[in-house]
Assembly symmetry: C2
Homo-oligomer: 278 residues x 2
């Protein structure tokens, strides 16, 4: 069973110790992992890089920067500073891209349009810093279910508008099936992203129903929900995308499964539903 | 306190007996109600019309037709037949428009694109029937959170594409703040709807967090959540929309509130957050 181009996202295995996660990845013939800043904080940047190198793995992305919607100057400055550190960490891990979850609406003013403007300005400010360090910024449109509390960027087209407004080729997008599968203009937007050389990452997991009590945790193994992985993967492949394909699942049941079993299920579903179309 | 153009949707008061609902509406100086087919089924079309007339009320809309995504011929025929009955009921109540929730994805094929094609074809088939009876069809884009199980139409632009594909002026859209507030292209889409003479209804309620266990029931009184009602209402008003503004709230707490209290809260919030901008 081929696991070519498959990358396991760390948060899919958040309950597994880091070393076990890396070893599980290797034991399934998988060559790449998506890491989180929590890993950097836990073991330190250099030690984390060494562990990944020693395991013979690549880092497909670092998750996550963002949260750029604050309007107070002091909060905005702190957010930009934190994102510069995240960019440094991305470069330090040899990862090509930093994933950005842009932040939600301030309930005090409910000004979603203003929040988007601040995101656009912040990304324009961060993109040159990323470019200088050889990494890209992957703006992640989140499912509109999270527009209030996590991301005022809800569609791929909107993320591309923001990336293009930066005027910098280091700003682009990540396509995560969970967040964009419902978009009636998805194929057109994927083509637009690739044509602009701004399609930096492809992530897969399914949309499960009923929603979990914490909706963030409704992500499922490919095949368990409603998403048409062959069709979306073909849209991505048709643009010439040849990068890693990360599996990022937040799901209480998956977290309760032994890592080896979860990795096996992911590899099987990937080989069945994704890779043949990639 | 002015309740001009305010309409109370029946489902906001689903736990209240019909007659009490109508009397509560009148007692707050409200002139219009949005009804559901369940009311028709319960008391009969003619009797329902008489009760509404006797109360001196208008019917702003009937909810709901739709569920047009089935692929089997027998299911499709049944759905069209049921929608024709819903159109007849709309006309029989003197309501201007029938609200359509188009239906979700068949989990067996996961073919969201095919489901949308069937919706487009069905609405083109139903629109002339509606036009002949003097009613319009309001396609309701539902929040993408419901794309899997309730509506493969998720944005106002997409609903307009479908309405325009019918080639019939009787097909149009309803703007429900709960479903579309997050849309980065909302203002443009509202303008497009109005320019095409296809903006048939405006409905308001808030987006509350955390989501209810049944996400459908996360709708709240205006002001309780994250939606910027003044801004969205101004977008609608700027197009020249002068129709009713329906308040449709599905919320366990509201359903547990005495109808008179709930109507008072709605009237207050409407007068504060919506009407001054309408």
């Amino acid at each position: 069973m081929s696991t070519q181009r498959l990358s396991l996202n760390r948060w899919t295995f958040r309950t597994t110790p880091l070393q076990e996660f890396l070893e599980t990845t290797v034991s399934h013939g998988i060559e790449s992992v998506g890491l989180w800043r929590q890993d950097v904080a836990e073991v330190g940047l250099d030690a984390l890089r060494r562990r990944v190198d020693d395991a013979g793995l690549r880092v497909s992305s670092l998750c996550r920067g963002g949260f750029l919607t604050a309007s107070a100057a002091v909060d905005r400055t702190a957010a930009l500073e934190d994102n510069r550190r995240a960019i440094d960490e991305t470069a330090g891990l040899g990862a090509p891209t930093l994933v950005l979850v842009v932040g939600g609406v301030d309930r005090a003013d409910k000004d979603i349009v203003g929040a988007r403007t601040r995101v656009t300005e912040a990304i324009a400010e961060l993109a040159p810093y990323a470019a200088e360090r050889g990494v890209t910024l992957s703006i992640e449109p989140l499912h509109p279910m999270f527009a209030a509390d996590r991301a005022v960027v809800s569609t791929l087209d909107q993320a591309l508008d923001i990336a293009e407004a930066s005027g910098n080729p280091a700003a682009g997008v990540v396509v995560d099936t969970y967040h964009v599968w419902w978009d009636p203009y998805l194929e057109r937007a994927i083509q637009r992203a690739a044509a602009a050389d701004r399609l930096f990452s492809y992530q897969v997991c399914d949309w499960n129903l009923p929603l979990a009590a914490e909706p963030l945790h409704s992500r499922g193994y490919m095949g368990d929900g409603y998403i048409d992985f062959p069709s979306i993967t073909r849209m991505v492949a048709a643009t010439g995308y040849t990068g890693d394909i990360e599996v990022e699942i937040f799901n209480e049941d998956v977290w309760a499964t032994p890592a080896d079993d979860a990795a096996r299920t992911i590899a099987e579903r990937y080989a069945e539903l994704v890779l043949p179309h990639a």
